[in-house]
Amino acid sequence: MDTSEHTTDVIIVGAGPVGLFAVFELGLLDMKTHLVDILDYPGGQCAELYPEKPIYDIPAIPVCTGQELTDKLMEQIRPFSPTFHLGQMAEALEKTPDGAWRLTTDNGTVITAPVLVIAAGGGSFVPKKPPLKGLDAYEGTSVFYSVRRMEAFRDRRVLVAGGGDSALDWTIALQPLATSLDLVHRRDDFRAAPASVNAMRELVGSGAMSLHVAQLRGLKGADGKLEAVTVSGGDGEYDIPCDTLLAFYGLTMKLGPVANFGISLERNLIPVDTEKFETDVPGIFAIGDINSYPGKLKLILSGFHEAALMSQQAFRYVYPDRRLRFQYTTSSSALHEKLGV
C-alpha cells in the first residue's frame, strides 16, 4: 500500500489525452497537477484500446496512432512535471474543512487540492468478466483477473482462460508453481507473441499442462471455493477440475466510484456548463468523453477545448487573489519561461 499524502493545485482523474492536455493548459496558468489513472500507463483509451490505430482528426496532425498521440502529449506537458499515480483507482472524495478536495485512491494515496477535474472518459478500465452464473461469489478467493503475487498461486490447480499475451504469459509463469495448469481458449490460434505460443505448446507436448480448445460454460463449487469449471468444445461439454480460474478477456469501462462523488449524473455522464465545464458542484470539473452538454461530441479535439476553458475557472479557485492574464504561447516570454523554450 502506498499511503503517501500529497497537496497540489489540481487533481485530474484520468490520464487519457484530455487529462494530459489539461496538464498543459493548467500549467500555462501556473497550476500544478497530480493525475490518477487505473491503467499502469498514460494515454487512456488511446493507449489501451487502439495504440496502433490511426487517428485523422487531431488538428494539424494529418495522422497519428493512439500511442503516438499519447507520446506527443507526454512530451508537450513535460515542462510542467505532473505527478502520475498510475495503476490506481480514484475511490473516495471528501471535502476538507477549508473547502479543498481530498481524493483517496484504492492504493491508499491521498491527494488534496482546491480543484478536481474528472477526465475519466468512459470510466475506469476494469477486467471483462465472463458471463457465468454465480461468478461473483468466487471472486477474490477462486476467480481472479490479474496476478499480483505469483506465490499466491503456488500448489493450486489453475485454469487460465483467454488467448492473448496475458493468458499465455501467466500460463508459462505459473505452470512451474501450480499443481496443475489448464489453458482454455476458444480456438487453436493465439493472438500472442509467437515465442510465448511456442513455449506453451512445448509445455503441452511434454505433458506439463493441458490446452483445451473450448469456451467457459459454468462454475462448480461452493462457498467461494471453486472445484471445477465446465467448458464446451469439439468434445462436447465437460468439467475441468481446478480451484483457481484466471480469466483474461481484456478490459471494459465502468464508471466506478466517480458515481459516488456527489456530482449529478445523467445516463452515466456528468452534465457541465459550456463556459467553464464545471459540474453542479463548484470546484469539480468534467472534461472529455465523460461530460455531457447540448451539442456534445465525443471527440478528442472537443476535450482539448474543454480543458482550456476549464483551466480559466480553475485558476480563479486556485488563485482567488490573482488577476488572470491571458497570453499566447507564441509571443509571451513569461510562457516561454514556463515551457523552457
Binding site: 483509451q45 484500446l49 487502439y50 490505430k53 468512459g122 471483462k128 465472463p130 458471463p131 483467454g162 488467448g163 492473448g164 481458449h185 476458444r186 480456438r187 490460434d189 493472438r191 469456451q215 467457459l216 478477456y249 481484456g250 471494459t252 469501462m253 465525443k298
Partner: protein, 102 residues
C-alpha cells in the same frame, strides 16, 4: 432497407438500414444496449452479435483482425460477428441479428 435486432431479453426491434453504415452504428443510434466501446475500430469486441444462419453467406467474410478480436468476446459461436465490421448494403435488407451476452 430494414434490420431485425433481438436484444438479450428477447425483445425484437426493427431498425431502418442505411447503406454504407456500420451495423453497430445503426444498433447504437437506436439506443439498443450495445457498448461498442472502441467506437467501431475493431479494437474491443463489445459490439458482438449473432447473425441468423440464413444471412451468414451474404456477409463479407471476417478478416483476421475481427477473428482475433472475437477472442475477447464471450460465448462465441460460428455465427458470431462484430457488428462494427458489417457494412450495410442493399443485399443485407432484412438482416436478422441477436445481441450477444456481455
Amino acid at each position: 432497407m430494414k434490420i431485425i435486432v433481438t436484444d438479450r431479453d428477447g425483445e425484437v426491434s426493427e431498425l431502418r438500414g442505411i447503406a454504407g453504415w456500420q451495423l453497430m452504428e445503426l444498433i447504437r443510434d437506436e439506443g439498443l444496449p450495445i457498448l461498442a466501446e472502441c467506437g467501431g475500430c475493431c479494437a474491443c469486441a463489445t459490439c458482438h452479435v449473432y447473425v441468423d444462419e440464413e444471412w451468414l453467406d451474404k456477409l463479407e467474410a471476417k478478416n483476421e483482425e475481427e477473428i482475433d478480436m472475437l477472442d475477447l468476446a464471450f460465448e462465441v459461436q460460428d455465427n458470431s460477428r462484430l457488428s462494427c465490421q458489417i457494412t450495410m448494403t442493399e443485399r443485407l435488407d432484412g438482416l436478422r441479428v441477436t445481441l450477444a451476452p456481455e
